[in-house]
Symmetry: C2
Subunit: 368 residues, 2 copies
């Protein structure tokens, strides 16, 4: 660590970072594995990516937010060419005649944990230790940045074929989501998005802090538990403050690709302490709501994470299948995601559950 609290991201950090990020993906966000390999390749070729704490940089430094956009179920098959976010960021810079001073992730959960690292390595920039969600969410406007007033334009989207589309003026973040989603679908449902630069003082106030470090810590705990043959689910709960909410076997799962999203639902019959109970999880790329015996017990924006009951591997919504044995853990989201402003964008009502009123999780174990 240097005087400003920054530290270089090492090759050895990439695997635990990707594991922790996959877990924070709450079933979505796409698999960070390919991005991890690409980051590793760039670091091996000599690129350096420093991670800056939120108190680094001057107030007027311009921060770029980049991330992949598309349906995770497509991302599994259609691998990004690797410079999509870079080209999108350059297009935003070019339109405004500015240069970014650092990058930050739109979402630490899933593949978008790696996109800013890849772009930073390509552009010679540092990344900020934080992100706009503290998890994964399915839509562009669902970041703390947009919730607290980041400008929706100019933003840009780029694909693997050299196509670059700039959203020069968009009315609001919902129109950005709409245009970016439709364009990403035209691009084959996998593209890189860069949004308008944000001032560092704004990012300091609005980013979910320390989430690169958090993902790394979780990933290291998982790897350590595996090496020591400990119960991974228990270690993850201990490392994160998460609570075990259900264990069971998937009995039914349906998903469809609709409007660029994976939507669906999974049913789980209880095992162990939950024998005789039934759980249900609603999905829109990510896990949205967990019901146990008909009662909603965890709901967005809190994190619902499915882990393989034996290995502790996070199970993403696109690989959920009949017969899987899962542990469902719940993790409270950051307070920035629980304000009335945030509820309007990422609360249960925003996801189409008017009957649910957000009941926040508390940290610490509860009885089963």
């Amino acid at each position: 660590m240097s005087d400003d609290g920054s530290w270089p991201l090492l090759e050895a950090d990439l695997l635990p970072l990707s594991i922790g990020a996959a877990l924070l993906g709450t079933g979505g966000g796409g698999n960070p594995y390919v991005g991890m390999l690409r980051s590793r390749e760039l670091l091996r070729k000599g690129a350096t990516v420093r991670v800056l704490p939120l108190d680094a940089l001057s107030d007027d430094a311009l921060i770029g937010e980049v991330g992949g956009i598309g349906a995770p179920v497509v991302g599994v098959e259609k691998i990004e060419e690797g410079a999509e976010c870079f080209r999108a960021m350059r297009a935003v810079e070019e339109v405004l005649g500015i240069r970014m001073a650092a990058l930050i992730s739109a979402e630490i959960g899933g593949a978008n944990s790696m996109e800013p690292v890849i772009t930073a390595a390509q552009a010679g920039l540092p990344v900020i230790d934080g992100d706009g969600m503290g998890r994964a969410f399915p839509e562009v406007q669902m970041t703390t940045f947009f919730i607290y007033g980041a400008k929706p334009s100019p933003a840009a989207i780029a694909d693997d074929k050299g196509n670059v589309v700039v959203f020069r003026h968009v009315q609001d973040m919902y129109w950005l989501e709409r245009f970016a989603r439709d364009t990403s679908v035209a691009m084959g449902a996998a593209a890189g998005l860069a949004i308008a630069p944000m001032r560092m003082d704004f990012v300091r106030r609005t980013a979910v802090p320390g989430t690169v470090t958090q993902a790394l810590t979780i990933g290291r705990a998982v790897l350590d538990a595996r090496a020591k043959r400990q119960n991974v689910v228990e270690r993850v709960c201990a490392a994160t403050g998460a609570t075990l909410f259900f264990t069971g076997k998937i009995t039914d799962i349906h998903r469809e690709l609709k409007g660029g999203f994976s939507r669906g639902e999974a049913r789980i019959v209880g095992l162990g302490d939950w024998q005789g109970s039934e759980a249900r999880i609603a999905i829109q790329n990510e896990n949205l709501v967990l019901w146990v015996d008909g009662q909603a017990v965890i709901m967005v924006p809190d994190l619902i994470i499915n882990l393989d009951l034996e290995t502790g591997e996070p199970i993403t919504t696109e690989i959920l299948r009949y017969g899987q044995r899962v542990a469902v853990i719940g993790l409270p989201v950051h307070d920035l995601m629980k304000t009335p402003e945030a509820m309007a964008v990422v609360g249960p009502q925003a996801f189409g559950y008017p009957e649910l009123t957000f009941a926040p999780l508390a940290f610490g174990p509860i009885s089963a």
Copy 2:
């Protein structure tokens, strides 16, 4: 007319221009009536729009091509706010740091005859006497400009809400069509598109020449025939060199809005000289192919125009209905649309009729 052969578009020109343009719309292109009213309003407020022949302006003058994009069936109900093309053109200018010297229509057929006039009045620019189709076509790439190598980017699209999307780099004209179409659908299927500036020497070589004048001439002939209670269909054929191919009554019409297009087919049973015959017209916004008794007799890119048998009013595909009595006339398209390069983009095969080989119409009457 001044020394350079240019002439001012007068208020009295607007109605005949819109009538001729509607006829050249070959069933599509949208109704130019609202655009005519908007142009009139602008001229009445003091705007001046000069029409320049293709030999005006220096070789390096930059020409902007603008036009509305969307499904005509939507355009009937969703009226453009009026500055969509203007804002799209400004976005292209801004991205490149240039200014247009004049505007040209993407398609003289239908509503897009008026869009460059409106934008020219708003921007204080002249318009060129020519266009990129000599008719109407459903897709962005179907202009002589793109067929002969115009750059597909940067282009820009704007809606009535202030949203502006710039297609900064697109691989080719088909990708531009794809992105612009999807964005126009997101914008409510009615938006203004401006493409990259073209040099005047390129436009001179590639534009379908004199089509503003042609539309005016047709419109004046229609108005004159109406005033003199002459047979409008005959006057139109005489004024344009078109041939009457069928007269009959619509017995079946189906249309659907699909991917931003109106697609469908109309069936017509013969009347008069065509008693006992049956015709069929395929539609994708415009009339694509006319079959008479199972034989394809006119096909894209030649013009298939339905006129009301009694009034001579052009009948657009969105107002075709059961029981209408129509005269179907055919008009040869300009030679620039009949080259092998053009066939690849606007020939019957490009429209999904692999079984058809383009057989060009000849000018002059044929026997029924």
